[in-house]
Symmetry: C2
Subunit: 280 residues, 2 copies
């Protein structure tokens, strides 16, 4: 068995002391955009893999776990989600899940790097199948700026589908950012944000809770789920709002007209379960 940099893509993280690798068939694409380096690989067992600045972003095989859990818990917790903003999410997988909800009237996706979306259309066409839905708006600009200019109380759900809170993604984890989210959301509005590994990144989660609280979100809830290509294979999404975030429209989930590969009402409830070590 050969394990080397030629036959495997490896994301090794000194800080967490962990690395994850996928066996490759070939490299399909590489480019440096004004914002980041994007690579696309064809893997042996996980389909296509998109890597940004050396970090695994999305694979054909396991992205359904992440995209479904970033979307459906928030949208089924909100009583009537009509206007949704996605910050980041350039691979369009979150957008596709959002648009499965028939009550959604408008879904704006704001990612700074158009090349992520164009490469996703080429290599992950299944994630982009709703890009031409008349309710979809794809904007390629700075998400913070977009949010700053958003009207007060104009949105029902904001989904932050971003990179880690290190480097360019850092600003999306600040109290100031959460204040803008709170202002742009209606009273019952919900913010959903990817919140890293429950095992490896507990201090990030703790900071998020404190800042969300300080920004005026009285309720938070974290849902955890498997995501094999991300560090530790265990990931989370955190909801913030001013309504009870532990109840959801369970009846509507049971009667939903679209299909999922991971999400259902039991999975939603299960993802809300808080491990003992996280209660401290």
């Amino acid at each position: 068995m050969s394990f080397d940099n030629k036959h495997w893509f490896t994301e090794a993280i000194d800080e967490t002391g962990t690395a994850f690798s996928l066996k490759l068939k070939s490299k399909l694409h590489e480019e440096q955009t004004p914002y980041q380096k994007i690579e696309i690989f064809d893997t042996q067992t996980f389909g296509k893999l998109m890597v940004i600045d050396g970090c695994t972003m999305v694979s054909s095989r396991d992205n359904f776990l992440y995209h479904e859990m970033m979307t459906h818990p928030a949208l089924f917790t909100h009583p009537d989600p009509r206007r949704v903003l996605i910050i980041g999410g350039g691979d369009c997988g979150t957008l596709r899940e959002v648009l499965k909800h028939p009550e959604v009237e408008q879904a704006q996706q704001v990612d700074i790097d158009e090349r992520v979306t164009r490469l996703s259309e080429q290599y992950f066409p299944e994630l982009c199948e709703s890009n031409h839905d008349p309710r979809a708006e794809l904007h390629f600009t700075d998400g913070i700026k977009w949010l700053r200019e958003a009207e007060n109380e104009s949105l029902d759900v904001i989904i932050v589908d971003s990179t880690d809170p290190i480097g360019p993604g850092e600003v999306l984890f600040t109290e100031e950012f959460y204040r803008h989210c709170r202002r742009a959301l209606k009273t019952e509005g919900i913010l959903a944000q990817q919140s890293e590994s429950p095992l490896l990144h507990q201090s990030i989660l703790r900071n998020m809770y404190q800042r969300m609280q300080a920004a005026g979100f009285s309720h938070q809830a974290t849902l955890s789920f498997p995501q094999p290509i991300y560090p530790s294979g265990w990931w989370s999404a955190t909801l913030a709002g001013n309504i009870n975030l532990r109840d959801f429209r369970e009846q509507d989930v049971a009667q939903k007209t679209f299909s999922c590969r991971y999400y259902n009402a039991d999975i939603h409830k299960g993802a809300l379960a808080v491990p003992e070590f996280m209660k401290d």
Copy 2:
């Protein structure tokens, strides 16, 4: 950042096309026993790591997830677990969790390789803290032989805490083995077995269900949970029995006198949730 075989331990699996690595401080021990090669490493962020024949077995940092989920769901599903047999489990972590249950009168651990236990006592003393409990019996012999000689209807719970169903562990996933389990268990008895990754090993799970059914277990239930050092970071335990395995002594969990780091009643229920893709 240096990623190489000197500073990292890597388990690379051609079959699943995935690899997981931990950054090392040093190698503490290596020996070839009559059964297998055992290595012990000191890692940067996961504490000690035991590796058997190149496969990650147990780390100080994340073993609580596996050991708690291999034990407490089975023992809280059984109405009154008094006699427990652990097949494999030489690191003694499962034994420790079993002996937290005050109603357990006898816990037999049967692992073929005494060196696993002796090295665990040395490098994972926290897992071995109940080895001298008067209810504990440590036997170093062939688990299949042990089970074949077990009296009919003499056990309440059998926990199979073994390696993968490839090589020496294979026999623990056969219909014949399950027949012996069924015979040795009392009517309400429960078999709990580690059942690999829900994402990567669906055919193993399907085979287990069929063979358990054929061996006379009318009910099965699979619980999934995170386990970062195992392939995909997402693992499972499957229960088999002739009672409802989806209900458990929830009241007793709420009132339990011992502490866990992961397990609680919500986690138990959540782990039973069946992802959509596994319903097929």
